[in-house]
Subunit: 335 residues, 4 copies
């Protein structure tokens, strides 16, 4: 687009920073149960990562008064892409704030913070501390044996607007849920998997969930079994099951603040230059669960509020479309 | 009990004979999709078995006008136990019919047929044709890779009566679902697994499901994936999931006539002489699914009618208790 | 046999007591790495069990000067069977010693110790402390997720003699390795699995290995991965692999004293009264590894010495047959 | 390098074309046993792909007089990259041949064939027919459930030369095997996995193996079980096992002509811009098998000859280094 600054070269979704209200309870859930590796810890902040992650963290938990998303973060290809991010979002009329190493999230160097056109707090950075290689430290694998962060799923009232924004940022689209009139959801990627970010239609901006990758489906079953054993099965919200979209095997959990995490495994390669978007009909009951199991209502309705650059909760806009209403319509024809 | 004939020495639940209304559709489901091995086949009858079964069949499908259970069958320790079965059920005042080799189910020798005190058609036999060993024929394993029949689950209005009858037959009890007033379900065994037969409370006599054993949980996931791929996901009724009771990993499927089959794996050894019954509270949400996932209503309500010795459908009696009503009560306290 | 006392009714192989030279190192291996549950512990003795075991232990490790087998133990059906064991082995001219509760292995009640005709120290007992049910304590499953002891494998110079002794004790035979002249190995059972005891031909009496059952093959892979991660891969002697005999998936490990343990999963049901012995040709390269992988020489040659009732090492007799020599013969025709 | 044409932008390793001497036997192995999907077939050629591959093929088998590699093929980012490939290899003084759509391999459009500086026949193409999406066709998954081609492994006498050539082509290096004097092997990638191509030291140019990706480790075990069941276990050369390098779970098979294929699963993401090379010591016994299992001699010594552009076998040069000799050195210190 003539005159518009070029977009930063995003490599991948890399971490999220969540506000939690009771750090001890959160530590129980994310470390003791799920088994994430503690890379850094203070009385206010926990930096966690999966065993395949080679940088400082995939998840930052920060103590705060209200459970919320502080920001999602994308790693970019080089230091110059942080500058590009600043110019790009400034040109879009969005607030931008440069955060120097040491002033922001532990381990992260020079970063650009913005609230994107969809209302989400987003960080772009290149510089980050490297971390010890744990890929083969099977002696440390516990819980869900999480390898790395795989994706963000965000709730937005206007799916086409989200699609356009991320397309402009250079993301490809692997899959959608559609009918002849509407796009209900979309999955978009930079790294060569099904997605780095996906959009769920609903009142937004809100964070729907973080997707954490594990290597094999038995590890997804194992974390559900552990939660049953601890009589903490109420933390299991949906699944385990097979997604239609992405083909991944999954379970959705809720942390002590209600933040949702998906344990996710076995999607597919999307790196070819002409990779085509696969379009699901909203009337195909297999799109959300390939086995046709119904989606839990809370999964469609509940999500995490997001903060602006000053730490205030961003108000949400309602959505005109409702995929869950389509699902329950008579004869699969929707409402 | 003084004067009462001794019970036959039951070895295990070994096969069921189902009436199906369209044998071609049934063949598609049980052979093409689930992958059971065809041991014998005529235009009216299919004899099927799992790969670890060393006798003629685990399942007989017989063409008929009404989908129903023709009979369940227990293998006994020796030929004399067939006589004992005849005397035992005759002494109970139940109808008995001796079926000679060649007159009954293909492959089965001398057998005793009865309608037991619970109203179910049951066969006891020792003599049966041996079959080729397929345990290591991995080249033939398909679908759910079913190894053998594991158990019958029957719907009865009076759980204590079923418990008493099978206790008298020499079965042990591995697990129950109870509260301070009622027994809602029980799992009883002769072979050294959690069960050969289990009782679900409801209008009966009806057959709730056949349990078919497979070796590993990924095989349970695979059959669900296959059904999704065939757009036959409506055959998946409940699961996959982990049972609280039995600890097995499971999925429940419905065949083209609505007969229910459970693909079941990984329960535990019960062979010690003092093996204790494990008692679940009906208020523990993990009893039916260890992950707390809700049980589908149809799973509690729908079941297969059973036939008497003359092939007529046995009328059902309603049950005074309803576990599913307990489940949905406020605060888990039931209704 | 006229005049001979009847054999005790053996339920299953239930535990082994090993002498270890460094209890701390043994604890590292069996508890920290393999993940067995510590049921009781003193400065001299560790009592360990798998998660599915409902009695006091599957393995007792006792500090001593020489790494050896103190005894293998079989649980019998009732208290009277301990008396029967005493009479039975006394009638065979074998040394017998009655050990009262509190005088022997922790948790075990009245027991009979003998050195059997094959030269092995064997205990028979009925009374044993029950233990907390851990079957569903997935939060405690670690390492190889061992469920229970599955079997003993013993080295004997005379396989037919071992076969006869255990046949007389009421064991069935599930599989053998043979040629037209010799029986090279046999697998024998009381519980409804492939075996409670197996015989490997060689200088004996020695203990070849303890078989510990886990539920799924990925758990076998996981313990090998853990040992690699700890740079303790020298504890992996053979496998993982698929057995021809038994069809189980396995890995053989050596503990710090060289005691061998097999992590073993997925054999098959043998409970039918007419279960037939499956006979492997010693010339079938799949018998020991179904994938045709060569057996490590140490696996055939090394084993644990056994103690007599006074704690002295029993001298071994050489074997006239050598299955490993057959294996390496030209064209699979043996020597 | 000043004046040198820029390298083509390689997307990934995408297919190999092998000459086979008996197409029916090859079809048995690759289609009936391994389960690859037949995309196109004539009396002389078979085009096969995995279920996740969305282009025409991952493997082409062509009938010919001598078992050999016809060429390996890389997909490039756009049509212009085929021109770049032509200029690039011509500038290196290598033979180049432009092959028009319809004149070369079925399904492939405009392509550049060369013999690279390492002596290997290599094709670069962008245009290829798309194929039906089979990712979720679980009903068609058979054998090893191969998803896609993952990598080529080539035997070269001069590892640093191979490393330099592929570095110049824009490949990153994920792992190596080294000592203070030599590089014994290297793994290099364009797509975001551990490799698209790896180098094994030895007499070359020869093809060591094709790596085919599957999703989970149980699928690797399953193909070994199938080969055992078919008494075709001689096609299993090495493994199953866990690699130190790449961390993948693997098995190596040999097809009827001796061409080697690796079934490979679960490596890791390498897409970050500063992804560091992980360097294994040649003295670490876990580098080739993380469990310390010895590598079969044939795996180091045997490989597939390669053809030049006229279909003649390229003569091999001996290698000055021999990793297998290091492995068997006393005290792991090599020779």
């Amino acid at each position: 687009m003539k005159g518009r600054p070029s977009a930063p070269d995003v490599v991948r979704s890399s971490y999220a920073e969540l506000i939690v209200t009771d750090l001890a309870k959160s530590r129980w859930f994310w470390v003791d149960v799920l088994g994430l590796h503690v890379q850094a810890e203070t009385s206010d902040v926990l930096c966690l990562r999966g065993t395949d992650e080679l940088t400082h963290h995939n998840l930052v938990l920060r103590r705060g008064p209200v459970a919320a998303l502080d920001h999602i973060a994308y790693r970019v290809r080089g230091a110059a892409d942080v500058d590009r991010a600043e110019e790009y979002f400034a040109a879009l009329g969005r607030p931008v704030r440069r955060v120097a190493k040491g002033d922001g999230t532990p381990g992260v160097g020079d970063a650009l913070h913005t609230v994107d056109p969809l209302g989400f707090p987003v960080e772009f950075y290149y510089d980050i501390e490297q971390a010890e290689r744990l890929i083969q430290r099977y002696d440390l694998h516990r819980g869900a044996a999480i390898a790395r962060l795989d994706h963000f799923n965000i709730v937005v009232p206007d799916i086409p607007a989200a699609y356009s924004h991320y397309t402009a940022l250079g993301f490809g689209c692997s899959e959608t849920i559609e009918d002849e009139h509407e796009m209900y959801a979309a999955w978009m990627y930079r790294k060569q998997t099904v997605h780095d970010v996906a959009f769920t239609g609903g009142a937004g901006p809100r964070l729907h969930h973080l997707g954490m990758a594990t290597h094999e489906s038995h590890q997804v079953l194992h974390i559900a079994d552990i939660l049953g054993a601890l009589h903490a099965e109420s933390h299991i919200e949906r699944g385990p099951g097979r997604h239609g979209v992405s083909n991944a095997f999954y379970v959705y959990l809720r942390d002590p603040d209600g933040h949702r995490v998906e344990i996710y495994t076995s999607d597919y390669y999307t790196g070819d230059p002409d990779h085509e978007t696969y379009r699901w009909s909203v009337h195909d009951d297999r799109r959300r669960d390939y086995w046709g199991n119904a989606v839990i209502e809370s999964w469609y309705k509940e999500a995490t509020p997001v903060l602006d650059l000053d730490g205030n909760v961003v108000p949400v806009s309602e959505s005109a479309i409702d995929e869950s209403a389509v699902r329950v319509g008579a004869d699969g024809l929707g409402g």
